[in-house]
Amino acid sequence: MIKFHPTKEMLKAFSAGELPLSLSIAMSAHIELCDDCAEQVKLIESSLSDDTWESNLLEEADFGDMLQSIMNEEVIASSTYVNKAKVKTKVADQEYTLPTAFRQFNDLKWSGFGAVSRARIINDENNVRASLLHIDKNGQIPQHQHKGYELTLLLEGTFTDELGCYEKGDFIWLEGDVDHSPYTKDGCLCYAVQDAPLHFIKGMSKVLNPLGNFIY
């Protein structure tokens, strides 16, 4: 059972196409796993659509021969549509099928650091990093704080931290002032988006701050 969901504001922003790609991927993947949010998005799209088309005060505009040129285009209608296949990826000897939102990323490069493996998804947005993270069984990430926000979408497996116990599909949003140390008994695969490096705060694990930069 998925217990953690995006807020209604995030669902709206996603449906309006206003979230950056890194977060849009997380929203799309969560919606693929969560029927409730998928249902909400349908209603939100319908309402955004009504708002958009409602405008009556419009400037006159000259569209030239746009209409004609579109209708000159030949239409080849096929009666069946096929989606591209989802991406499969192999990490720590296991194969995972990724949600549709990851279809573009068919050449993931995993690199490891102890129990943690990472594959970069996005690094071209301002100050934001998005990666797939794989944590092996019994793996733990030392207690850390986030300077900005951290979004974790659990794609496979389970993990726990001070705040709860998470399952496949859970959408976990943390703001800067929370610190936590995730632990996974059976291993897990997550998609993580962060807008500032992790910062380890506890004793010896401070020496692990390079790990924070790695995960980030």
Binding site: S24, S28, S46, L48, D50, M66, V75
Partner: protein, 203 residues
């Protein structure tokens, strides 16, 4: 960081989904169905008249640039024309379907403006629902079948399809190569496509 949508969607989230379309919505659905089934130009002109100024308006608000707003109109309406047959009438309002096409295209445009990448990722974020996922086997079967249909085409049409789709020549290159007017190439290709489509649909 996240720009919140200011429109109120609460009223619709708290009322039962009303599947009864009002008159205007029904009219839009009817036009789109005519475009889908008959490529009806009159119906498409009506859709264009209704939506083009509104899309431009939306594009101007979003991009603050006339040329980009016009590109959004052009591309959205082009996709409506080409993909009308994909709209499933029983699933709701045609106007919402058109909204999602515009939303997807403007997401890709924005990403292109910001990162200079043309990765057209919107179709992965908002995948076509209910579409079957391709399997390697299916893909293989389809290509095999299609190749056999191409082989059955009259020689002149077969040549055009092979040169353009398999050897990836442009229509102009092929016209030069065969010393034929471009129009002849175009019409042969069109005839061939109609035949192939009929074959594929007969299955």
């Amino acid at each position: 960081m996240i720009k919140l949508v200011t429109h109120s969607t609460d009223y619709i989230l708290n009322t039962p989904n009303n599947t009864q379309l009002d008159q205007e919505q029904q009219q839009i659905n009817d036009w789109l169905r005519l475009v889908a089934t008959k490529q009806d130009k009159k119906a498409f002109s009506m859709l264009f008249k209704f939506f083009a100024p509104k899309i431009r308006n939306h594009g101007l608000k979003k991009f603050s640039q006339e040329s980009t707003a016009m590109e959004l109109v052009q591309e959205t309406m082009m996709l409506v024309w080409r993909k009308a047959h994909q709209f499933d009438d029983s699933k709701g309002k045609a106007s919402t379907w058109i909204y999602t096409i515009m939303r997807n295209y403007s997401f890709d445009m924005l990403r292109k403006m910001q990162t200079n990448k043309e990765d057209l990722v919107s179709e992965d974020l908002w995948p076509l629902l209910d579409a079957e996922e391709e399997s390697e086997e299916q893909d293989h079967l389809q290509s095999k079948q299609l190749l056999s249909y191409i082989n059955e085409l009259p020689e002149l049409q077969k040549q055009v399809v092979e040169e353009i789709y398999i050897n990836e020549k442009t229509q102009q290159e092929l016209a030069d190569q065969l010393s034929l007017p471009l129009g002849t190439i175009k019409s042969r290709l069109r005839l061939a496509m109609v035949k192939l489509r009929t074959k594929m649909e007969e299955e």
